[in-house]
Amino acid sequence: MWEQQVAFWVLAVAMAAAAIGVVRSRNIVHAALFLVVVLAGAAAQYILLAAEFVAWVQVLIYIGAVVVLFLFGIMLTRAPMHDDAGALDNDQRWGGLVVALFVLGVLIALLVNAFGGKKIHFSNALVSLGRTSHVGTDIFRVFVVPFEVVSMLLLAALVGAVVLARKD
């Protein structure tokens, strides 16, 4: 089990450092690239938890789509890409820091209180639970209604985006 512990801590420290990089970076493109590290770390954590499908979805959607969309957005809106001290800063950052630390403290205390001392026991059953086939079966058996509704939602979002983006 100690290998997993080591892997967890290496990933966790890297994610936390990259997350600080996201908010501290003075260059918006660097911030987006730091975000890739955070999201990839989250994907690796899912693999440690034997949730392979969620891990790959994390890679495909967050790194593959969302961050690329960020970069496209930066490109298309012609946001300043050079280092611009102060342009990305917010006057309320110290207030934000206090609130963030408070929320962090409360959540850590409560999560430790609720889940502390519980252990995940790795077994073949747990691994098969995270398999793509299992998730797929669940989507089309148990969650078929939300699945169908989401497809209509995506259609509507597509139509709406075309209307907003179209020149007239």
Binding site: N113, V145, V149, A156, V159, V162
Partner: protein, 485 residues
């Protein structure tokens, strides 16, 4: 092994989905600008047919391990949403047509939002509720910004979008904690979990989930997007947002509290109490100072949302279903009143070309028919008998007295004071309509009102008068909703 799917239970959703696709295709292949609108209206009415056949059948259908349930409650609310959606379509026909906006696309988005609402009436697990709630909201982000060249409309859309996304994230985080603790997303299982001993984290999870809903139903202190969005969005969309989409949030809130969090009363009752008291008070006080009729109705709908939250906040101390019934009855009546009020605003704005209250001066002399109906809607919102609004207030106060605890009575007193404050600004507009000298520039003999708009106003007036005089009709619907099928 394939799961048994009861297609009759999904029939309203299926009809509406087919309608959405048909509208999209019709818009693609014809130049007839009226055809998509006709298909949309017909489809919404068509979806009511399976609702009726399911109601006649009367059987409770529970699918997917209790995640999707068709019972009297879901049928009553599905019916309400479809009627509200139809009335919104009536309001939109000419507004959207004359502005030369994208008509077909408008109806596709409106109907998709409506689809989310009828799914939410039957959804009984966190994932379905969340997906349905997003299906309600995401199309309305775009609808609020439909007047692309109007900066106010852009502002409305952007504010609504940013706040909506933020609230979804907060709610989803809360829901993920609930799932982590209860090990299930189905509300029945969460109910079982909440009956036992729960750690403090559960209270925080409930808090975050309810905060998300508070944004959706624009309860104070999470309301600040509503007045700007309501003012900037096209008025039929505002009517839809303030009635159907808000009711969608309340239905989900009612379901999740009643079937999920209920046993753990300490975790949700104080939050709802504060939201109810703050929404009523701040909504009404802000409404007093408005000079724009749409902004006034926005604040008034925040206050009305507070009134709807009152029975929910005291539900833990009410025996039987009286509190839940009060919520459903209030939603039904509020829908009729507010849709009517916005229809009247659209009709009046066609004559005065403005949404300022001062421009409505003497409107009763120049356009008596619109002014009479406008007054009916406003007095009904104020809760004056014999208009339907009094019955909504009555069932709310009855729930408070059924609860009969100190906190409930304090909330009842706050509600009573607010009913009086609300009367001032509603009657202020009515006084403007009838007793002030007409303002210059109001067209006396404007072209006839569109049929759809007149029909919507007439229909809502009729509902308000009939329910006001014969409240047993909606009271019975409220009872049926919570009968065991």
């Amino acid at each position: 092994m394939n799961p048994h799917v009861d297609f009759h239970a999904f029939a309203p959703e299926i009809v509406l989905t087919v309608t959405i696709v048909a509208v999209l295709i019709a818009d693609l292949f014809t130049d007839d600008s009226k055809l998509p609108a006709r298909i949309a209206a017909l489809g919404v009415l068509g979806s009511l047919v399976p609702v009726l056949t399911l109601a006649v059948d009367g059987q409770t259908r529970s699918l997917f391990g209790g995640a999707f349930v068709v019972d009297p409650f879901s049928l009553v609310l599905t019916g309400f949403f479809l009627v509200a959606g139809y009335v919104t379509l009536l309001l939109s026909f000419d507004y959207i047509g004359e502005g030369d906006y994208y008509q077909g696309e408008f109806y596709v988005l409106l109907l998709t939002s409506l689809l989310g609402m009828i799914v939410i009436s039957s959804a009984r697990d966190l994932i379905s509720i969340f997906v349905a709630l997003e299906t309600i909201t995401i199309p309305t982000f775009v609808l609020a910004g439909w007047r692309k060249h109007d900066t106010k409309s852009n502002e409305a859309s952007l504010k609504y979008f940013l706040i909506g996304v933020l609230s979804s994230a907060v709610m989803l985080y809360g829901m993920s904690l609930v799932f982590g603790l209860a090990n299930s997303t189905v509300l029945v299982d969460i109910h079982k979990y909440a009956s036992g001993h729960t750690p403090a984290l559960f209270a925080v999870a409930v808090f975050l989930t309810l905060v998300g809903f508070a944004f959706k139903v624009s309860a104070v202190p999470f309301h600040f997007w509503a007045p700007d969005t309501y003012e900037g969005a096209p008025t039929p969309v505002t009517a839809f947002l303030s009635v159907a989409s808000k009711a969608g949030g309340f239905v989900a809130l009612l379901t999740i509290v009643r079937l999920g969090f209920f046993p753990s009363g300490n975790s949700w009752q104080p939050i709802l109490w504060v939201l109810a008291a703050a929404s009523m008070t701040l909504g009404n006080l802000a409404a007093l100072r408005q000079t724009n009729i749409v902004r006034m109705l926005a604040y008034s709908s925040i206050a009305q949302g507070g009134f709807i939250l009152v029975p929910l906040a005291v539900a833990g101390d009410v025996r039987g279903n009286a509190a839940w019934q009060a919520v459903v009855i209030y939603i039904l009546i509020y829908g009729a009143m507010n849709l009517g009020a916005f229809a009247a605003v659209i009709a009046a704005a066609r004559r005065t070309r403005s949404a300022e209250i001062s421009r409505l001066a003497g409107f009763g002399r120049t356009n008596p028919a619109i002014a009479v109906m406008f007054s009916v809607f406003l007095f009904s919102l104020a809760g004056i008998p014999p208009l339907a609004g009094w019955f909504a207030k009555f069932v709310m106060f009855r729930a408070v007295f059924d609860a009969n605890t100190t906190v409930a009575v304090v909330l009842g007193v706050i509600a009573a004071v607010n009913s009086v404050i609300a009367f001032f600004y509603y009657s202020g507009v009515v006084r403007r309509l009838w007793f002030d000298e007409p303002a210059a520039g109001v067209e006396l003999s404007s072209p006839r009102l569109p049929v759809g708009l007149s029909a919507a106003m007439g229909l809502m007036t009729a509902v308000i008068l009939v329910v006001g005089v014969y409240p047993q009709f909606f009271a019975r619907l409220g009872e049926i909703a919570f009968q065991r099928g």
